[in-house]
């Protein structure tokens, strides 16, 4: 995009300057609050209670993080989060790829019906209560598998993978068939390795979804041992909110300690995504495009 190689005109330069200034403002609006969260989480309870800082804390301390790590349930939640994200992503991608591969063959019998069934699921659903009743009757309430099994399938992802598989040259499949390979063999040994970019994209989207998901827990899980980080954080937030409303005039110390713990938990909950973010960014963008330009 070198359409502006020839720079000219005063008004054009003013435009560029104004544009840059506005975008820098935009960056500030995004970065300052995030920075403030990090710096606040590293502050002592006293500094937090006083407030009065934006960019730099008055009193650095690791006490919030110490409090979080002393709480053994947070460690357990971290394990639950990692496990459900890891297992969930692998099973989801494999399941969707398998169906997408089958549906990518136009000769498969019943394809029209299968596709119609899939498209309907994109726009209709039973909604919260009928789904809850189903999960309940399947015995998935308070089970780790409620994170995995209902999340196995997404027709949207099936469509993306289906279109990707279609772009693989047919000759590859043909020669394998001549050598006597079956469909499963071709799928596992040829198509999966070739489709790694598409599968990685879907894995990443799904991974972020799994990591950030808390409605599943809120709806189907009451057992604290199965709480992921997001739910743990939600509890801490709700707890501190009701507290701060009750104790107007009450003890300030309790409020600020909860606030510190809350901030430290926020940072810990977000850290994995932010840490992966620079590496994964380009996959996300290509995935957006993949999803947008369908047929």
């Amino acid at each position: 995009m070198n359409r502006k190689v020839i720079r000219e005109g005063l008004d054009s330069r003013i435009f560029d300057a104004v544009n840059k200034v506005l975008l820098v403002c935009f960056m500030v609006i995004i970065l300052v609050p995030l920075w403030n969260v990090i710096i606040s989480s590293l502050s002592s309870g006293r500094a937090l209670a006083e407030g009065g800082f934006i960019f730099w804390s008055k009193e650095f301390s690791l006490e919030n993080y110490r409090a979080v790590f002393n709480d053994s349930t947070i460690g357990q939640s971290f394990v639950v989060s990692v496990a459900k994200t890891f297992i969930g992503v692998i099973t989801h991608v494999f399941f969707c790829a398998m169906i997408g591969y089958g549906l990518s063959k136009r000769y498969i019998r019943g394809r029209k019906l299968y596709v119609a069934m899939g498209v309907i699921t994109m726009f209709f659903s039973g909604g919260m209560i009928p789904t809850y009743l189903l999960i309940k009757s399947l015995g998935l309430l308070n089970s780790f598998w409620v994170y995995i099994i209902p999340a196995l399938f997404s027709y949207y992802d099936v469509v993306i993978l289906m279109n990707f598989f279609r772009n693989v040259p047919d000759s590859l499949e043909e020669s394998a068939k001549i050598d006597g390979a079956g469909d499963w063999h071709i799928f596992l040994k040829i198509f999966i390795p070739l489709s790694m970019p598409a599968m990685a994209t879907i894995a990443l989207f799904n991974g972020v979804g799994q990591w950030n998901d808390f409605m599943t827990t809120k709806l189907y899980i009451t057992d604290q041992a199965l709480y992921p980080l997001q739910m743990k954080l939600y509890e801490i937030i709700v707890q501190s909110q009701t507290q701060s409303m009750q104790n107007i005039g009450g003890s300030v110390v309790i409020e600020t300690t909860t606030k510190g713990v809350q901030l430290a938990t926020i940072v810990i909950t977000t850290l994995p995504i932010v840490a992966m973010y620079p590496i994964l960014q380009r996959y996300f963008i290509s995935g957006m495009m993949l999803g947008a330009v369908k047929e």
Binding site: M27, L103, Y107, V119, I129, L133, D170, D183, M245, A292
Partner: protein, 331 residues
């Protein structure tokens, strides 16, 4: 392309299925069964998906019938007595439901009015940047908030808005207020909090599609315009925007179809006892009636009503977009 692969699989499968309407039913079923058996290996890949869809998508759709029943905890789906449209009649006279409708529409229209334009402006601004490095940096940072969950962002908002938090600190330093107050407890401001926090989270992410479309605009248009003496703003107005018209209208219409499905996660985190009357949206109302008060039939009826309206909006949206895209349906 596919014909060759089909004939490679097995020579006897006809590459194109002939119009089957003329054949007798028995023969068609027979053919299907033979083909299915021959294709069992590839069918075995699709079958788990079909079973999944029947269990996890179609059984809940059937479960919607409890909206027309009086379902209590001791009932099962089949034993609950039918009550016809009673639940829907109660909805219409339920003032809490109408409060939720007003809030949902209010927040949705604010999000639509403000939140829809900002990504477009932002995308144009990023597109007009000519420094590669800075451009990359701006994009990277602007996508970042999208990856925070609503729980995380809700927690952040609660600390930012608290009396000793960032927001009050900034306003105090700028001299705009004299005394800190917790904005989240102010019901009158909730709609704006919901809208602006949503924009903060998603505006950068919303630019991706627009930027992709803009990258495809032929640069010679701009050259020609420059030779004709068009300034930068004029180029944006007469070249960039017209080229994005299709995607903008498509996006707008799809947003309209989701008007009633306001963000449940956001509401659950940001709603408190002080701002409830302005924060309750339809989705959170369904959650409260169904999951915490156990009124399954009533909550399902509300959910079903909303789904029906949403599907109608979607179908209308599809109709309008297909007109805009030379009668090619986007769905």
């Amino acid at each position: 392309m596919n014909k060759t692969s089909a004939s490679a699989t097995s020579a006897s499968i006809p590459p194109a299925i002939p119009p089957s309407a003329k054949k007798p039913m028995g023969q068609r079923i027979k053919e299907f069964v033979t083909d299915y058996k021959r294709q069992w290996e590839i069918q075995s890949m699709v079958l788990p998906g079909i079973i999944f869809m029947i269990i996890f998508c179609y059984i809940p759709i059937y479960g919607l019938t409890i909206a027309f029943k009086n379902y209590t905890v001791i009932d099962t789906l089949s034993t609950a007595p039918w009550v016809g449209l009673d639940n829907f009649r109660i909805i219409l006279s339920d003032e809490y439901f109408w409060d939720a409708v007003v809030n949902t529409l209010g927040i949705s229209f604010l999000k639509l009015g403000v939140g829809f334009i900002i990504p477009i402006i932002l995308a144009i601004m990023i597109y007009e940047l000519n420094m590669g490095r800075f451009k990359k940096f701006v994009q990277t940072i602007s996508y970042l908030p999208h990856f925070l969950s609503w729980i995380v962002l809700g927690g952040m908002l609660i600390t930012w808005f608290s009396t000793s938090g960032l927001f009050n600190e900034l306003l105090l330093n700028l001299g705009l207020i004299s005394k800190p107050s917790n904005i989240l407890l102010d019901a009158g401001k909730y709609w704006w909090i919901a809208t602006l926090s949503d924009i903060w989270k998603e505006a950068g992410w919303g630019t991706i599609l627009y930027l992709a479309i803009m990258a495809k605009i032929d640069p010679t248009y701009y050259e020609a315009a420059r030779i004709d003496g068009a300034g930068r703003l004029r180029q944006i107005w007469n070249i960039t925007l017209p080229n994005m018209k299709a995607i903008i209208s498509l996006n707008l219409i799809l947003t309209v179809s989701g008007l009633l499905g306001s963000n449940l996660d956001q509401t659950l985190v940001l709603m408190n006892s002080q701002n409830r009357e302005k924060a309750e949206v339809i989705n959170s109302y369904v959650y409260r009636m169904g999951m915490t008060q156990g009124d399954f039939s009533y909550a399902t009826a509300v959910g079903l009503g909303v789904s029906i309206v949403s599907v109608i909006l979607l179908l209308m949206a599809n109709k309008v977009t297909s007109k805009l895209n030379d009668n090619q349906s986007v769905l």
